[in-house]
Amino acid sequence: MAAMTPELWKRAKELLAAAQELETRDRESFVDEACQDDVALREEVAELLEYEEPGVGILDIGLGLLRPPESREDGGLDDSGAGSLSALHEGQRVGPYEVERVLAEGGMGTVALAVREDDFSKQVALKLIKPEKLSEDLLRRFQMERQILASLAHPNIAVIHDGGTTEDGLPYFAMEYVEGVPIDRYCDAGRLSIRWRLELFLKVCSAVEVAHHNLVVHRDLKPGNILVTAAGVPKLIDFGIAKPLGAELAAKSLATAPGTTPMTVKYASPEQVRGKQINTATDIYSLGVLLFELLTGEAPYPLDSSSVIELARVICEEEPQKPSSAIRHRQETHSADSADARQTAATPSRNRRGESRTSDTRRISRRLAGDLDSIVLKALRKDRRNRYSSVEQFSEDIRRHLAGLPVIAREGTFVYRAGKYLRRNRRWLATASFLLLVVLASAMMKIRADRQIERVKLDNLRAENQANMLSGLLKNLFIKAFNPDEAQGGSLTASEVLDRGRELITADLEGEPELLAMQLEAMGMVYEELGRYDRARPLLADSLRLRRRFYNGDHPLLARGLNNMAACFYRAGDDRRAEILYREALWMRRRLGQEDIDLAKPMSNLATILMNLGKYEEAEEEYRRVLESRERVYGCESTDVATSLFSLGTLFYVRGDFEAAEAPLRKALGIRSQAFGPEHTKVASARSTLGRILHAQGRLEEAEEHFAAVPELLRKRLGEDHIQVAFTKRDLAALRLDQGDPAAAELLLAPALRVFRQTKPEGSWVIADAESLLGACLTTTGRYEEAEALLHRSYRILREQRSERAIYTRKALSRLHELYAAWHEREAPGDLPPNEPITGS
């Protein structure tokens, strides 16, 4: 650019600026047109436009260091307004005050130390909105803070004096000037003992309590907002993002969109970083982080990532370490690296020798272990329902600890510990054990609910005793099971847990048949949930036997026992036993006054069993009863109705009534699409079944349309190896075969079959059905010997498991006939039943 002159640059600059305003794709034509035949100018502008994007040079990277701290990445016009100093500068007069110096600059305002003009000895903290940040929303927040502070009178909350508007029309208020240091620095500088720290923290709690009583959530509790005066009084100073809880106030005044809430990530609760509803539990969480820090000098999680997303993930997912281990950990890291400037009571003087430091750390770690660990962790629970229910409860627990009384936080910690232990051990056993916990918990809940009914019969006191005994038992069991110290080798399997449980139960519950039955039932359900039907069955059977003996005649608990037993057989695939028990359970429950709608689930299961057994007429009757009751109670468009329609359509399909099957399936698909949106797995399964029905009707193209919509959707949702994805591959394979493309069919079938073999037990009819299809492919491509073995085996299995009349069995049979029709060297065995045409009913 030797020829560059100020004149040329001026023109180039103008064009460049104009081009920068345009979309990238329009720029070239614009420059071409604007420059006409001025080649030099055009080249210049075109070249400069190539340097439009920030690069890696000093201008964009190195000098990032020198950019003003608030500047936006794009340096846009929104980075505007007067400098921060223009909001407040020393000597400036604000109302009756004169600014001495700026104390802090927050997101929305500036805080300055000021004195009253008429009384220089009276210092106040003056808070002003930054003019460049002025917006309606900010103004509202600012006024709200003023109101909130005015409404909160407490020795540990800064007092508000007055407020008004500056000459420039900016609102301000004056509050008590707290000459103090952030609470964490105060504790460290004074090397306060744990007890002192707790006392100080309790005062903070009492301030937050008052705020909560006034329906104000602080939302930004952190050391910087809690100053401790020289007299040792902590004061809450900043309610800048506080939120009133009153519904009418909140709705009007704080439409804080998720993600826009200013907060300090380190102290933010999971619900805050997720942008969810905030309540007092949010402050409890932040107080938990604060207490953690005051006790250990460490954060509950390593929050050293600079990525906000990563920080949010850690806060929402990672379990905090125990304060007592944080101390030990801190000791380890810091003995290697003594450059850390922070000191806490927990880490004694750096000048001392290593040994004494180690022993001090051990001492403090021991001091924190137990109560304080539990208290802090309870405040830090991810699910706010599991935190302290109020700040009072939180501080009460600390007081109890200080008084040497048992603390609330340690009640029920076994479940939490168990959960944590499980999360650490990500083996399937751990998952299974976790399931076990969940199931046991829900079983407990069910038991309690039923107990309400029981109260009529049972003496109240006795019921209470039993419930206590029961929870004591469970607790005992889990403490033993999940305490890593007691579990040999550190890993206790779910089965071991249950085995121990059984021993404990039978020993402890001698002479309490009702309770014993419940316990056995709960454990049986756990095994069932784990898929261990072999183990579930004897437990459920024992439970049922006890109940049969204990209750004469109909009883809800006996009915439930029957139902559970039936469900267990059903899930284990023992349809015949399941049918008998379901029928008994249903009869009893009807006699006890339950309606069809209450029994929809077991009735549907019974219907499915009847279908599997080939009792199609009874199955249809049962399905229809459920459908009718659901239509009556939930309305014709409800998803429960869709489920019934889906079942009914499937039944028609299975019995070969393809015309009748279509309508209910289409209706089910419609309801589900409406209710769940087009991408839901339930929509996908309805589509698959509808596709199968259309395929069976010979409408191959329509079937393909439905099949085509499914796999992508499911793969996205469930992953490649999910059984539902495998089903769609199987369906498409069947279609390809009928379209005359056995090679494509085989390609689709192979991965599906692999999934079936992995997920279903050997001899399952699902595998047999797929193998029969594979056999058909082999027949078509002339590999008769292989086909024969496969087809015979699958036919046998299907006939055993799905009745002669089921579509699957009939298909398997006809495929055998097709094989022998194609295979001239071999005759069909004499005992092979004759082929039945499948189309039509």
Binding site: P6, E47, I58, L59, L66, G91
Partner: protein, 193 residues
């Protein structure tokens, strides 16, 4: 010989009233003050903290002006001076360090370490300085805007008031200067091989 507040104030006022010589006297005073403040800031802040010109200049300004009430104009002008000074300090230091690395002792400017950018940026700082000088040949005001923005940490509004032009103009000048500077910088680094 620390400057007294009143002396600085007088010079600032004189300068804002059009006395350009006042600036020459002002510069070294302010530069000294900046160094003192920067050194202190670096002692209190944790190591590895980078220099924030805004904070630095704020401090210097408050210190130099004492308790006197000031108007916006001279304050902005003060920032303008400071930006220019910070640029010189950074560039001089970078040159000095580069020269030293080559074994020469061309320059013997006693500079405070605190002003230094990381050493690997020396070449970049010098190149940027050169590019700004080239830009000043074509458009002095534009070059000045970039200087205020980069070395002074001024916001667009502040630059607008200082240069007595519209904020949109500042914005446009800045936006068009960036590609130009990027190109110059990429050329200079290409030349160095």
């Amino acid at each position: 010989m620390p400057p007294t507040s009143s002396e600085v104030s007088r010079l600032l006022d004189a300068w804002s009233n059009g006395d350009t010589k006042a600036l020459d006297q002002l510069m070294p005073l302010v530069a000294d003050e900046l160094r003192v403040i920067a050194r202190r800031l670096f002692k209190t802040e944790s190591a590895g903290h980078t220099l924030q010109p805004t904070a630095l200049v704020n401090e210097a300004y408050i210190k130099l002006r004492g308790q006197r009430k000031v108007q916006w104009n001279s304050r902005a002008e003060f920032f303008g001076v400071a930006a220019n000074m910070i640029r010189h300090i950074l560039v001089d230091y970078a040159r000095h360090r580069q020269a030293k690395k080559r074994g020469g002792d061309v320059l013997k400017i006693p500079l405070d370490e605190v002003f230094a950018l990381p050493e690997e940026q020396d070449a970049g700082v010098i190149a940027l300085d050169e590019a700004l000088k080239d830009l000043a040949m074509l458009d002095p005001r534009q070059s000045r805007i970039v200087e205020l923005r980069i070395f002074g940490g001024l916001k667009f509004q502040e630059i607008a008031e200082l240069e007595k032009i519209g904020r949109t103009t500042v914005w446009r000048e800045w936006k068009t200067a960036l590609p130009w500077l990027r190109r110059e910088l990429s050329r200079s680094s290409a030349c160095r091989g």
